[in-house]
């Protein structure tokens, strides 16, 4: 992989991007085009759909068929794209607030249907674009602009939510772990059916500042120290995993997708009509 080749997947005339210096979103954007490049996918047959939020601005910079849609609704728009054009690789990119709070209902139902989508969640544990409010993944007892006395809510575990809702490929990585991030996005793109890749990313501007890590490096170090590979985590007692980020590929199963089943139905009815 050469960096100059990866640049061809970006709309360089749309730079500079809106993200803060040191933001992890750029790492995920690079990992994504790196994965596309390694898989030799045709850019004209890729559609990327996003909602609203810092990470959702990624669609403006990616040189594919791109849709910057409504807050929380990216998965629903993407479902329409995929069903209208089954030959497309359809990717949804969005943040924890976008996909798991306002978009939570669409997320679980796309998982349940095993819709052939790849969902990349940029999880920075906070609403960045609106200035640092707590999200469904903000850890308990951490601070946010709307949790000035500490967050009293429990958080979603994205991986468990995806698996229990029916997603057939589920992985988690962090922006510190670039190699794994590229690998998981690649595997997600290759996977047939609903794939969910959660990537922990740093919002040092808000989450970091509210919680004693105002520098990007502090947050990357945090991801490095708190991360535990899945294989190791499986052998650890649950109390030791408290506050840790388990990274790895949690589920990778083969199962007929909604899209395959619907295509079969169309074929069956077409033959029936002919008889």
């Amino acid at each position: 992989m050469s960096t100059s080749r990866l640049l061809t997947y970006l709309r360089q005339d749309r730079m500079p991007h809106v993200w803060c210096p040191g933001c992890g979103n750029g790492v995920i954007m690079k990992a994504f085009v790196d994965a596309i490049d390694r898989l030799l996918l045709d850019p004209e047959r890729i559609a990327v759909v996003s909602g609203i939020g810092c990470s959702s601005r990624v669609t403006g910079y990616l040189n594919f068929n791109t849709m910057h849609t409504l807050h929380g609704r990216a998965i629903a728009f993407a479902t329409g794209v995929k069903l209208a054009r089954p030959e497309f690789k359809v990717v949804v990119m969005g943040g924890d607030g976008d996909v798991l709070a306002i978009g939570g209902n669409h997320f679980i139902h796309a998982c349940r249907r095993n819709m052939d989508l790849t969902v990349v969640i940029f999880n920075n544990n906070i609403y960045g674009m609106t200035g640092g409010q707590y999200s469904p993944t903000t850890p308990e007892d951490t601070y946010a602009s709307t949790a000035p006395y500490g967050n009293i809510e429990d958080q979603f575990d994205t991986v468990k939510l995806a698996i229990n809702s029916g997603a057939t490929y589920v992985a988690r990585s962090t922006v510190y772990h670039y190699v794994q991030t590229v690998q998981y996005i690649q595997n997600g793109l290759k996977h047939k059916g609903m794939s969910v890749i959660e990537i922990m990313t740093n919002c040092h501007t808000y989450f970091g500042r509210y919680n004693g890590m105002p520098e990007p490096v502090q947050m990357l170090s945090y991801f490095k120290e708190k991360s535990v590979p899945l294989k190791k985590a499986e052998k650890m007692p649950p109390e030791e995993l408290d506050g840790k980020i388990v990274i790895g590929e949690f589920v990778d199963i083969e199962k007929e997708t909604y899209n395959e089943k619907y295509e079969q139905l169309k074929l069956k009815l077409a033959f029936k009509e002919k008889e």
Binding site: H68, A76, L83, R85, N105
Partner: protein, 384 residues
């Protein structure tokens, strides 16, 4: 091939849409629009199209915009509560100029209201339901045959003007079965969607460039051109811009593309308006009672006529203004607390006597009620 068939309004809506080239439908069950989804679930896969029942109306609306931008003609159908949920997506469809059709089979509201009863309470919501200034086209037929014909028109307007079209129906129209003439294909022309590229290799597709008529370039299918759309204020390329001049240009063009073409978009029907001293304005299923009332009144030698807007938005102001000049009184009949009456009032510069016959109990306005209003207005204005 043409023939007469017995069909329900909701069913005619679905079958007419398929005739118009609709190949994607996403919906959520709701009375009295469910039969549209049921018909689509049965018929779409047979013609190579796709039906999906989404998790709610927001998702249904979003899915049809996704499918439309990807390259398929797409529609959803709902009733009041679902229509409220769809409003944000309708605004998005206006902004990205996605050809889409949103059917609202109206029922009694507000809130859950009267799910199985007749009402026309969503007329203003069809116009102003989503936030911000935005263009909209709304069509509202009166018979099952018109549902079948005008849903094709709705799809054609959506493609030509690149805009969401609201197709209004009501509980009576949706659930009524009547005989209709199934027009042959030659009578129902549909505007096709362009392919993946209309340009030479090196040119970039500008999805939002307006022509001298303020119309956006015809939408092409997602693919070769790799275009971008956003609900943010954008320039011709589709990418967000912050300049005041660009924002002004976009908002004005979106408004003008409908406003400047109102006369070619407007469809209305008239019955005995030439010598009418009293003009009835009615639309949707209610216009059927109004037509009956006019026929009875004419037998009694009362000069009454019916004006029936079929395009509700933009409101057919040009024609109504002409009629207002030569009538002595106008009666607006509607199954709400008065919505279209304000449009008529706005055009009524000579202060012609304007009477509202409003009914909100869920039961159809009867011809007798309209005849009573005609008699009242006649005694007040004509018999002086």
């Amino acid at each position: 091939m043409s023939e007469y068939v017995l069909m329900q309004g909701d069913e005619a809506c679905a079958l007419g849409a398929i005739k118009a080239g609709c190949r994607f439908f996403a919906g959520y069950p709701i009375t009295p629009a469910t039969e549209i989804a049921e018909t689509m679930a049965k018929e779409l896969p047979k013609v190579g199209g796709t039906f999906i029942q989404m998790e709610d109306e927001i998702a249904s609306a979003a899915a049809i915009v996704g499918a439309s931008l990807a390259g398929e003609k797409a529609m959803t159908a709902t009733s009041g509560p679902g229509f409220s949920l769809m409003q944000e997506v309708i605004g998005y469809a206006s902004m990205v100029e996605a050809p889409t059709v949103f059917v609202n089979v109206q029922r009694g509201g507000p809130s859950t209201g009267m799910p199985t009863k007749l009402a026309q309470g969503d007329i203003m919501q069809a116009r102003w339901g989503t936030h911000g200034d935005h263009p909209v086209i709304a069509i509202y037929p009166s018979t099952v045959e018109e549902v079948y014909r005008y849903i094709v028109t709705a799809f054609n307007y959506a493609e030509h003007y690149r805009t969401p079209v609201v197709f209004l129906m009501d509980e009576v129209l949706g659930h009524m079965r009547e005989s209709l003439y199934l027009p042959p294909d030659s009578e129902l022309k549909s505007v096709p969607r362009a392919g993946e590229s209309v340009l030479e290799d090196d040119d970039i597709f500008q999805p939002f460039i307006g022509d001298d008529q303020m119309l956006a370039a015809p939408l092409i299918k997602m693919g070769k051109s790799r275009f971008h759309v956003s609900g943010l204020v954008h320039d011709e390329s589709g990418f967000p811009v912050g300049a005041a001049v660009d924002a002004n240009r976009l908002l004005r063009r979106l408004d003008h593309k409908i406003r400047l073409h109102a006369d070619e978009i407007n469809i209305c029907d008239e019955y005995m308006t030439d010598d009418a001293e009293i003009l009835i304005v009615a639309y949707g299923s209610v216009a059927r009672s109004a037509l009956r009332a006019v026929k009875i009144a004419r037998e009694d030698k009362i000069n009454v006529g019916l004006f029936r807007p079929i395009t509700i938005w933009p409101f057919p102001a040009t024609r109504l203004r002409q009629l207002l000049k030569k009538t002595s009184a106008v009666i607006v009949v509607e199954m709400n607390l008065g919505q279209i009456v304000y449009e008529v009032s706005r055009l009524n510069r000579r202060s012609t006597k304007l009477e509202l016959l409003s009914k909100v109990n869920g039961e159809m306005v009867t011809p007798q009620e309209i005849l009573d209003t005609i008699a009242k207005v006649k005694s007040e204005v004509l018999d002086l």
